[in-house]
Structure formats: C-alpha cells, structure tokens
Symmetry: C2
Subunit: 490 residues, 2 copies
C-alpha cells in the first residue's frame, strides 16, 4: 500500500502544478510547466504499471469483512487494469498536450475564436482515442473515457437516462415559459461591488463550515476545487463579475460543496482508495446539494437575506426576499452552463454529452463544433450563442482532455436530489436548522452517509445504500416541480 | 543528457512545492506537503545515483573545445559524486524535516521563542552531519556542506578571507562611528503606505527590466527568488512594512537582481549545467550589484527621487535627495541582517559563519545558540538583540537545512564589488546611463560576461576571466570607503 500511496502522492504533486498554472503561473511559464506535468504523469504511470504493482494486484486478498482492504484492493486493481496497457509515452504526451491546450483555450477565448483552439482539440481527441483503445471497452471508445470519471457508466446507459430527463425537463420548461408570472431577473444584474462580493462569499463559505485553515479561495477564469494534499489542503477558486452577483455567490457555494466532501474524507486513509471520492458524479452531488438544495432554498435565504441586502444596498435596497428568491430560482434558457438555472442546466449537459460522444464515434468533426453547438442550443433551448465564448469555448474541460466528464454533472444533480430527499426524511428539523444558519446537521449527515466511506461503494451502490432505492429521475423532477410551481403559478 | 534534464525537472517540481508552501499553502497542508517534498527529493536522488547515470559519468567525454559538453559532463560528474554515497532515505528524511522545521521556525518566530525551534534544528544538524559523512570532505564536515552552495570553497579559506574582511570593516566602522556628521535615519521610519510601496517596488523592478511575463512578485515573511521553470518562470517575493520604506524597496531590488540572473540564463540549456547559475556567491553578486551598487547609487536616485518623493508626500515632502541618499547608505550597527547596511552586513554573515561552523565541529551546541548569538552581536557590532526574533530566529536558512549557505552572501558582496568596478571600466558612460534610467547597458554587460555562460566557469575562474584579477577584498573596501567618506566627512 505504501507504493499505492506514493503513486497518489505523485498525482497530488501534479495537482499542485496544475493549480499553480491556473492561478499564479506567469504567462511564459507554460512551456516548461507542460514538461514538468508530463514528467510527473510519466513517473506515476510507470510506477503504476510496473511488475511490483502487477504482483500486488494479482496476489492481494482481503480478510472477509475487512472493507478497508477490500476497497483498496478492488480499486487499485481497477486503476492498474485501466493503465496496464497504456504506453507511458502516450500518458506523457497527453499531460503535455493538456497543459498546452489549456493555454490555447485561454488565448482562443480572448479572441472568441474557436479556430485558434481547434488544432489542440483535434490532437487531444486523437490522443484520447488512442488511450481508449489501450484501456479497452465493450461497446464504444467513449465508454473507456466515461469510466474514468464515473466507474461503470456507459454511453448507452447515459443516453437512455438523458432521453427521459430531457423530455421531462422540456415539458416543465414549456409550462414555465407559458406562465404569465415571470420573476424579475434584472435585479441580479445590477452593480455588485467586487470587495463586497468577496466578503459575502467568504461569509457563506464559513457558514457552510469550509475550513480555511485547510484550504483557500483564489480567483480563476473557470472556478474549480482541487485537492493538493489530502483533506488538509483542499482549495477552491471563484470569479467575481461586477455586474452580476450569482457567479461568485453560487460559484463559491458550489466549490465549497466539493471541498466539504474532500475535507470530510477520512484522513487516516489519505492517498488510498478508502480516502478518496467515489466518482465525479457523487462529487458533483455534493457541490450541487450545497449550491442549490441548500443555497437556493427558502430557509437559507430567510437567514442570509438581511446581511446580503446590507452588503449591496444600492442593488438590493428596494428588493424583497421573495423577489430575490424567485430571481435566483428562475428557470430561463441562457448561454453559459455554469450560470444556468437548475432546470435548464441539465440540457447544457445533454448537449455536451451528445457532442463529445459524436467526436469519438466519428459522427462529428472538431471543425464543425461551433456550428453544431449553436444549432443544438437553438433546438433545445431556443437561443443561439452570438460568439464562441458564449458557445463552444465556454468550458475548460475539453482543453484538459476531460472527455466523458460532462455527463457526471447531470448525474450529480440526480444523486443530489435523491440524497437531499433522504436527508429531509432523516432530519425532520432540516429546514429549521438551515434557517438558523445551523448547517452542521446536514454536513454531519453527509459525512456519516457519504464522505467517511471513501470509495467503499460504487456510486449506484451508495445511492441504494443511503436512500434504499436505485437512482431515479423522480426526486429531481419532483423537487424542481415543487420549487417552480409557486414561482410561476403553474 | 535527457536523464540529466529529468532529474533537474524533478528539482524544479520541488521548487514549485516549496514556493507554494511559502506563499499560499493553507496552514494544515504542511503534513502532506512534507511527504510530497520527500517523495520528489527521493525520486530525484534515486535517478541521480542509478547505474545509468554512473555509466554516463564514468564513460562520457567531450570533444576538445566543446565547452557545452565539457561543462555538462564536469558538473554532472560533480553532482553525481556528491550524491553517490548518500542513502535515499536520508535525502527523503532531510526533505521531510526541512519542510516541518520551516513551519516550526515560523511558529517559534511568532512567539519569539527559540526553544520551540531547537528540537527541529538539532535534528537537522544531526541529519546534515550524516550527510557530510556520506558526501565526504578533506578537512572538516562543514566543507561538504559549503561545497554544495559554493563549489570548491572551504571553511579554512573562508575563515582567512573573513578575518581580513572583519578587521578592515571594523576599522572603517570605528571611523564612521566617531564622525560628528551623522545622517538622519528617522526619515526612513516614517509612515509609508503599503499600496504606494507596492507601486514603487513594481516600477523599480520594471526599470531594471525584470520580465513580469516570466515572473511575479508575492509577499512572504522572508523574501526570496525562486526558479520554477527555467528562465521563463522566475518568481520573487518581497515584504511590506508600513513604518519602513527600505525592506520593500531594497528587498525588491535585491530579489530582482537574483531574478535577472535566472532570466538571463540561456534557455536552450534549461535543465542542464550550461543553463544554470554557477554558485550562490555569484548569484548573490547579482542581487547585491543591483540592490547596492546600482540601487543605492547617486545616479540611480538622481532619476528615481522625484517619483518616490511623490509617492510618499507626507514622509518625504520635506526631505532632500542628499538627505535620503545619506540615510539609505548610512553605516550603523543594527539587529536584522536583511536590513543591514552594506558595511555592517558582512559582520552579520561572519557571525553566522562562525556559529554554523561551530555547530558542525562540535564547539557549539544548539541550546546555547541564543546566548552565543547575542554575546557575539555585542562584541562585533556593539548591540544586543532584545529577543530571539531580533536575534537567532531572524533567518529562514537553517530551518531549511541550509548550513554553509550564509558565507556566500559575503562572497557575493566581494564578487559584486569586483564585477561592478570592471563594468565601470568597460562602460565609461555607466553613471550617466543609470542616471537616465537606462539600465540596459549594465544588464547587457552582465548577460554577456556572466549570465550567458551558465556553469562554464567556477566562481573564482569567472572573477579572473571577467576582471583579469583573482578575488580580492580591495574593490569592496575601496567602494565602501569612497561612498562613506563624503557622507561622514571621514
């Protein structure tokens, strides 16, 4: 297990290099940084696929009931088997290209010109296709990539789930659009001075018990949460837009949700599977639970409203808590995924899932991406991006080689809804507690039911274990319908 | 050579981890960080002492006149031979302890209590003693440590040089103390608002052609310069003291001097000896040259005075450039090395050299450090620190295991004086150029004579090569005497 830990320490080192690249690295540093990332990835890979590890994976067995050993062996085996046939050169080349492509993506965004990013994207898709062949898959190459982020998930399964989800969302969205009662969204786009936004974000993060002694918050183009050294160094980033309160407010709550999961993992198991998150979908369930199920709820705002109003007297002086609540929960088609409301957000994900799957089954070519993006936005959401920054350049994921990542966001919403419904049953005073700014009980519930287990369960097992039922679309749709009905008089 | 580069890339990765620890790492991150640093150091060491590298070191030869190959082979051999007998576990343990001890040092400083740092210091001295035995030395264990930072230097040689230097400094200092004319130092301790200090520091760094696209400036307890990815990622830190202008002003110029050396190394040789600095002494010559020989000169202030005066109208409104010039060049015994004037600075170094050498020859024990420090400060400088922060806890070096490091500071002053005297002969318009804020000619001179060579020459060879003479104390003493004579009417 010490060797397993060393490999994960190498990944942690790579995380630090990446965090630095996103936050503070000077512009010209990218050339050497890509070399360093390639080196770290190469060493980690070589140590993972060596004979020593093969011997461990083939020979190890756990005593019955020793779930720590069971989990560590099962997950180490999985990681080993995924990596065993992948050449180190490909791993290094991918690490190098991801670092370079990220820079190209930033440059392309600056000019709002997808063609500046296209060569890097093409190269990344090509490398990831090779990767998928080496990893192996049953139905389609895309499955091999998806499985990295959501173990066991397949393109076909997600396709089925998303088809039902899309239909039910579009039905609800059409009722919302047809309503005569519409929240006033302009109140969110007034002037919100950045220093006050910083104070509010900080206060919210503290209210949710994010431990700043074991983390910090910086500013990046694309906010993220990143674990740089076990539960004791879990950092988040956010962004501040003077003309809009929500990116920093809900962006921070979102990343804090991720961070609370990481800070809640058992530190005695750091750098082993028992000390790590299950999947990106489960991770996203934690961020969305805090951002939306808690952070956009009535009880939450019954407590925080007065201090937020005081922080922005010019923008919110004449606004009532009900108007604010309606605005932050409005369901309206919009361009940017990270700013989308809870209902339409999932449509953004479905769009990305279809496009990236198409890039890998050959039905879609990189050069056509802006056109296809815009066409499907129009079809699904009824709006068309006016440029690439508003369209296919908005997300960082593909520039980091993160194909198969997006579906986990919608899965996260489904998991979150099902978990939160269960938390509501287990904690009869939940709403009152949140309204008193007492967020400890729900955090404890998450720690107890989810965080402390590390990777003991797969995502689907955990959902059944915690809620007694398999994953379903119902909890999310029930929650959204219940929330939107009074706002829109449905 | 690719393997040589990979080992240096690993060191660069460690530098990034250390930079992050100094600047932005959350408090609780230290436990895991020390594990990561140990891992990186261990891997670098194992790759350095492996059979492949031994084969290269024993078998490699350069064509006559191929100085690139010659340098790379010579310096790789030196690094290999120093490391070959050192056990990896000791390297890892030292990296781990250094990271922990740095934190203890910060904590001890907070309480101004040396005893909180003593256990870590003891442990580090013990580990470094073991290290010296494994490396090997001719006269004394301390030489093995000194040689890491200043190749070829020995304790005995430094002892002789420092004895003469101390005598001549003390003689000059006594004349300065006896003078009836004394600069008004209080003008430097007025209120200097930090935001204005930041702007001034930035402007100065830009005036010296520090490339911010290949670097950045952050704030740390102990300012430093750090290369995180070849000449394209060279970062500095500084500190701001509201009640004193000089720490940020000259601290920044100092670190910029280091950074200009690193940014001037040939990027085609990054991660090989031809792309690296010669020694810490030569490095220090670059920082001191810019900080003092340029940055405290009359021509420099004839240009910068008006803008600095404008930046601090309350503190400097009634001050003349001559008063300011006299104050920043005053020679006065003081407690803190990094704030010491050019003359007494060297006495601070001699004190540290004697103490650390004593820790390694057994004539001095860690527990007696505060008492001995204070006693020798009194003897040499005539003043006694009132607590440990003002005394033996002021420097970070020992907490990082940097024994044998301090002497390179005084060597740097000597090198700088000799180089700057030569630059003055080679560039007849030097003073006028500096007075016009045209710092490019002197930078070009340094690039041409020093930076571009990487490690082609050893420090002593370079001095002879550039100035035509062996290293001497005369240029520094001539320069100081010439500068202090009018200020003190000597």
């Amino acid at each position: 297990m010490e060797e397993v830990r060393e490999i994960r320490r190498l990944r942690s080192i790579a995380e630090i290099l990446e965090w630095d690249q996103e936050t503070y690295m000077p512009k010209k540093g990218v050339r050497v940084r890509s070399e360093l990332l390639a080196l770290a990835a190469g060493i980690a890979h070589e140590r993972l696929v060596c004979d020593k590890m093969r011997g461990f994976v083939e020979g190890a067995s756990a005593d019955a009931g020793d779930f720590v050993a069971e989990t560590n062996i099962r997950e180490t085996r999985r990681t080993f088997e995924r990596a065993a046939n992948v050449p180190t050169d490909l791993v290094k080349e991918l690490a190098r290209m991801s670092s370079i492509a990220k820079d190209d993506w930033v440059a392309a965004r600056k000019e709002s010109d997808f063609s500046m990013f296209e060569p890097s994207l093409l190269k990344l898709v090509e490398l990831k296709k090779q990767m998928a062949e080496h990893i192996g898959y049953r139905a389609e190459p895309y499955d091999a990539l998806l499985d990295e982020f959501e173990p066991g998930a397949t393109g076909r399964q997600i396709e089925g789930l998303f088809a039902e989800l899309r239909d039910r969302i579009v039905t609800l969205l059409n009722r919302v659009k047809a309503s005569a009662k519409q929240p006033d969204l302009t109140i969110l786009n007034r002037s919100y001075p950045v220093p006050a936004q910083k104070l509010v974000s900080r206060r919210m993060a503290e209210a949710l018990h994010y431990d700043f002694d074991a983390g910090r918050c910086d500013v990046t183009v694309h906010p993220f949460c990143c674990t740089l050294g076990g539960p004791e160094d879990v950092r988040i980033t956010t962004r501040y837009v003077e003309k809009c309160l929500t990116p920093s407010l809900f962006g921070t709550l979102h990343e804090v949700g991720h961070a609370l999961y990481e800070q809640g993992l058992p530190s005695e198991h750091t750098f082993t599977p028992c000390g790590e998150a299950i999947s990106l979908g489960i991770h996203e369930s934690q961020s969305r639970l805090w951002e939306n199920f808690v952070g956009r709820s009535k009880p939450f705002w019954s407590f925080h409203w007065s201090s937020v109003k005081d922080a922005f007297p010019e923008a919110l002086g004449e606004v009532s808590v009900d108007e604010f609540y309606a605005a932050i929960n409005a369901a309206t088609p919009s361009m940017i995924r990270v700013e989308a409301d809870e209902l339409t957000y999932n449509l953004h994900i479905i769009l990305r899932f279809e496009i990236e799957r198409g890039l890998f089954d050959g039905s879609l070519h990189a050069k056509d991406l802006p056109a296809i993006w815009n066409e499907r936005m129009q079809k699904m959401l009824g709006i068309t991006p006016k440029n690439d920054v508003e369209g296919c350049l908005q997300d960082i994921h593909w520039s980091m080689g993160g194909f198969g990542y997006f579906p986990t966001y919608a899965l996260g919403n489904l998991y979150a809804a099902q978990f939160f419904a269960q938390a509501g049953e287990d904690l009869p005073d939940l709403a009152d507690q949140i309204a008193r700014n007492d967020n400890q009980p729900v955090l404890d519930w998450l720690r107890r039911n989810i965080h402390r287990h590390g990777q003991r369960y797969r995502a689907g097992e955990l959902v059944e274990q915690v809620t007694g039922k398999p994953l379903s679309i119902d909890p999310l749709m029930n929650y959204l319908t219940k929330k939107l009905t009074p706002i829109y008089d449905l």
